[in-house]
């Protein structure tokens, strides 16, 4: 057993878990953060994507103990209070989800993707970058549309902020 302490969605949390416990299971079972999902056994589906120290990570590829000391953001911590994150809002507006099971991982991966491409995204890039996230419902059509729209919204928001700062 190992003691684990880390920051999750802005809060310091700690717990004890078996050494073999995956980060995704620690989040779900110890912390009750069930928005992060498990869709496969082989780190292929991406339903468990979260942000660890600012980077998108499949939380089934990390042991919980490896995350000790890290700063983790899960789908539950993405919105700013009652205000949806632009990627969340875009998924709703563009019908980028159906059953909702892959959605948290999709949104976390998409947010990271947009952050890594401040120059903006095109369809081919979005499709290539989504390679690690599987959706069985949407055929990806509206997910791609939502990510492109969110990327635009976030770029506009960044420009507005830069202007205000200047």
């Amino acid at each position: 057993m190992s003691d684990i302490s880390l920051t999750v969605n802005g809060k310091r949390v700690s717990g004890t878990a078996e050494d073999r416990t995956l980060l995704v299971h620690f989040l779900r079972e110890n912390l009750g953060l069930t928005g992060t999902h498990v869709g496969c056994d082989t780190s292929q589906c991406g339903a468990c994507v979260i942000h660890v120290d600012g980077k998108a990570v499949k939380s089934c590829t990390m042991l919980a103990v490896q995350a000790s000391g890290s700063n983790v953001v899960t789908i539950e911590g993405l919105a700013d209070g009652a205000d949806l994150h632009p990627v969340q809002a875009a998924f709703k507006e563009h019908h980028g989800l159906q059953c909702g099971f892959c959605t948290p991982g999709m949104i976390m991966a998409a947010t990271d993707m947009i952050n890594r491409h401040p120059e903006g995204l095109d369809e081919a890039t979005v499709r290539a970058e989504l390679e690690g996230n599987i959706c069985r419902c949407t055929g990806y059509h509206n997910i791609v549309k939502a990510i492109l729209a969110a990327s635009e919204t976030m770029a506009k928001g960044a420009r507005r902020k830069a202007k205000q700062a200047a």
Binding site: G35, V38, C45, H95, P104, R127, G139
Partner: protein, 782 residues
């Protein structure tokens, strides 16, 4: 159409919980005292169980119980059943082999459940499962359906000689043979429809809780039809009487058919909860899902299509062998029969059709309905044959189809179905225009300049949805009626709850069903809540599959709304001292037409519950129920055009354009309908290009993970061009046909027709993976 009414592109109400991580799936459920289960499964495709030794496992840390099939039998838990009786052409009933939820004497496929281990943690349950010692005597296995019919094949069930479950036929054999004999041209093909694994992203799960004090069971399960689960577990599996069993299907992460059936695990978790005295949760891992979720398709067919000298189809003869796997799953028998052969007329006027279907046991996972269920197999067979016929006859595939289209309705086919409405030429024209079909030759030449092979293919599909008139399906062997129920409760403050037997697992019912109510009463959709998925809340229902929620489920809601509307108008007329025939409902108020007298909706509702001033003899309250039984199937139809570019050096196929033109009748929410088409088309393209289920000769599933089974990913697919036309369905009050399966039905032949066109060959196996395509191109050069 109001801004939230029928036809409006309303964003989904249910999305908020899903995009914020607040969805509630079975694996998210926690019950006090809950423990975890793991199953010991057969590693062999076919073996006798000689001995099960659980002693070592029982002594492992955290273990609460290790239970076997013998104990399950001793407690009277029943065998799993197939709920649709099919009779062979000699009149004998289908040969259903015994399927014990936990195997105790013989295992028949890799993944067959043998022992359940319940422990404090999932990890401990798995560790202990590894310590269960089972001695098997391996038997010869067979995985291929035609081979299973050979005399030398191993016998899988004692009930089914030669592994033949039934040998069934439909249509007129004499007339069809005569048409083929007299034909000016006959196109003959062998058609293989590849086995698929449904792969809903949420793995199956069950949480069984036995309440000793109340002698009552609760089952949370990943189900598309919780009421049917309760009915079957009560009536056939002897888990508990219906009034002592509550089944809850909360948020369910996709189904595609695979979550219709009642599997061994939910039965066993309920039973194990009583045996161990703790709530028992089991969640499949992905490999368990690959091994044990009901698979789809797996047909091998031969087809003969006869034409007269004017290229009109005069007859169609089909012989199909359907692989049903190791056991007969709940609806497995109706898929290759009444959901398949009844659609073999397609969109065409064919005077004579005969189909023979042999269903066969093999040592593979059970096969049952997967998105489309029978109709994709019929469409693939027909549309591949039409394409080949057009090439053989030297005519345009579009014009050959157009010449044979059914153009007047109702149309009685020779294979049971009576098509009620459609305009097949409209879909064909729309698809050809959207795909710039006329400009293809130019694009092909441009591709050739770049060293690429470009091809175009089309598919005109029809399907039967809205399952189904209960008496009709009953006469064909169904063990259940296929109506749907709805209850509309208007609260005293005017807000509305709609309880439906339909189940949403991605379809967006919480929005579309509310749109229907909003349209009727002019109330905002936020004041309408849709309740589903809980047998304690909704009295009875038949669930969601076969694209039936709109045509049947919403029709039931519409019928209940009729009753609510009639009573509301009576109350309003009484309050307004007007004639009830003069009351109209507009913008959330009941008005006397032609006057300025009105009563707001909520005041009418309050009056119904205060009951201070109701018409004489009227009961207080405002709640109405309807059970709606459809009068016919519905017949969505459309035309899909696929254009591909193949790199001859690598065999990689790129889908450069995909056009879908569908006729779904009336549409409640176009945004949601388009989403259904996108998803269905992606699954169809997956079947055509990527998804191959491979067993080796010994019955080991080689493709049991996402490392081995190619799921369609974002970079395998284009954005789709979708459009709809509308011939309203005359058979239900809303004119809805259903849209859930069309994409998966219509797309595979369009893709394969495009690939064979690009390479210049007659046929290629699905999935047309790069290596298959590359080999096919090489073969054309020798």
């Amino acid at each position: 159409m109001g801004i939230e009414g029928v036809g409006a592109r309303v964003a989904r109400k249910e999305d908020k919980r899903f995009i914020t991580g607040a969805g509630r799936y079975v694996d998210d459920m926690v019950v006090p005292g809950m423990k975890h289960a793991a199953f010991v499964r057969s590693p062999h495709a076919h073996a006798e169980i000689k001995k099960i030794d659980v002693k070592k496992a029982q002594a492992m840390p955290g273990v609460i119980g290790v239970l076997t099939g013998k104990e399950l039998k001793a407690d009277g838990i029943g065998n799993l059943i197939c709920g649709w009786m099919i009779h062979s052409k000699d009149g004998s009933p289908m040969k259903m082999g015994a399927w014990s939820p936990l195997a105790f004497d013989r295992v028949r496929y890799v993944g067959d459940a043998v022992v359940i281990v319940v422990a404090e943690t999932k990890g401990q349950a798995r560790d202990a499962a590894e310590a269960v010692d089972i001695t098997y005597k391996e038997l010869k296995a067979v995985v291929d359906a035609p081979k299973a019919l050979e005399r030398s094949a191993p016998q899988i069930h004692p009930e089914a000689d030669n592994n033949l479950i039934f040998d069934w036929e439909l249509g007129d054999s004499t007339a069809t043979n005569a048409a083929i004999k007299a034909a000016a041209h006959v196109t003959r093909m062998k058609i293989v429809n590849n086995r698929l694994v449904p792969n809903a992203m949420e793995p199956r799960a069950a949480l069984g809780y036995y309440d000793k004090a109340e002698d009552h069971y609760t089952c949370w399960t990943t189900s598309q039809n919780p009421h049917l689960a309760r009915l079957v577990m009560s009536a056939f599996y002897n888990v508990a009487p219906e009034n002592k069993l509550r089944v809850i299907a909360p948020d369910v992460g996709g189904g595609f058919g695979s979550k219709i059936y009642i599997y061994p695990e939910e039965i066993i978790c309920l039973w194990a909860s009583k045996k161990t005295g703790v709530p028992v949760k089991w969640v499949a891992d992905r490999t368990e899902s690959f091994l044990t979720d009901a698979h789809g398709r797996d047909h091998v067919s031969t087809v003969e299509m006869a034409f007269d000298k004017d290229h009109r189809i005069t007859g169609l003869k089909v012989d199909t062998i359907a692989n049903l796997g190791a056991y007969m799953s709940l609806f497995s028998s109706c898929v290759p029969t009444y959901l398949y052969a009844t659609l073999l007329s397609g969109q065409y006027d064919i005077p004579a059709i005969h189909a023979n279907v042999r269903a066969v046991y093999t040592n593979t996972a059970p096969v049952d309905a997967y998105r489309g269920a029978g109709r994709p197999e019929a469409t693939y067979l027909l549309e591949r044959t039409m394409e080949t016929a057009a090439r053989e006859l030297g005519v345009s595939p579009a014009e050959l189809r157009r010449k044979n289209f059914i153009t007047s309705f109702p149309h009685q086919t020779p294979v049971i179905m009576n098509y009620d409405a459609g305009d097949y030429a409209a879909s064909l024209d729309a698809a050809m225009a959207a795909s710039d079909y006329a400009g293809f030759a130019k694009r092909k030449a441009a591709a050739a300049d770049r060293g690429k092979l470009r091809g175009i293919g089309m598919s005109s599909y029809i399907e039967a949805c809205g399952l189904a008139p209960s008496a009709a399906v009953g006469s064909l062997g169904a063990g259940v009626g296929l109506w749907e129920s709805a209850e509309v409760r208007v609260n005293a403050v005017g807000t509305i709850e709609v309880l439906t037997g339909s189940h949403s697992h991605g379809q967006g019912h919480e929005t579309t069903f509310a749109q229907l109510v909003s349209q009727r009463f002019g109330v905002p959709i936020d004041s309408v809540s849709i309740v589903h998925g809980d047998t304690d809340k909704v009295q009875m229902g038949m669930g969601s599959y076969g694209s039936r929620s709109g045509a049947v489920g919403m029709s039931a809601v519409a019928k209940a709304l009729d009753k609510v509307e009639a009573k509301a108008k009576k109350i309003a007329a009484h309050l307004l001292e007007a004639d009830e025939g003069d009351i109209v409902i507009e913008n959330g108020a009941l008005k006397v037409t032609g006057t300025d007298k009105s009563v707001p909706w909520f005041q009418m509702a309050l009056a119904a519950y205060t009951a201070h001033n109701l018409p004489g003899g009227m009961e207080p309250g405002l709640k109405e129920t309807s059970f709606y039984d459809p009068s016919n199937f519905t017949f969505p139809a459309g035309c899909y055009v696929c254009e591909v570019e193949i790199d001859p050096e690598t065999g990689v196929t790129e889908i450069v354009q995909f056009v879908a033109a569908d006729d779904f009748g009336n549409i409640i929410n176009p945004m949601i309908v388009e989403g259904q088409v996108h998803g269905g088309v992606a699954q169809g393209i997956g079947q055509a290009l990527l998804e191959g289920t491979r067993y080796d000769a010994s019955g080991q599933l080689l493709t049991a993970s996402y490392m081995d089974y190619t799921m369609p990913r974002a970079d395998d697919l284009p954005s789709f061009k979708v459009s709809t036309s509308n011939t309203p369905c005359p058979g239900n009050p809303l004119g809805i046909k259903g849209c859930g399966e069309a994409g998966a039905i219509g797309s595979p032949p369009a893709v394969i027709n495009a690939i064979t066109d690009a390479i210049g060959i007659t046929d290629i196996a699905m999935p047309a993976s790069p290596s298959t395509v590359w080999a096919a191109i090489r073969a054309t050069k020798h």
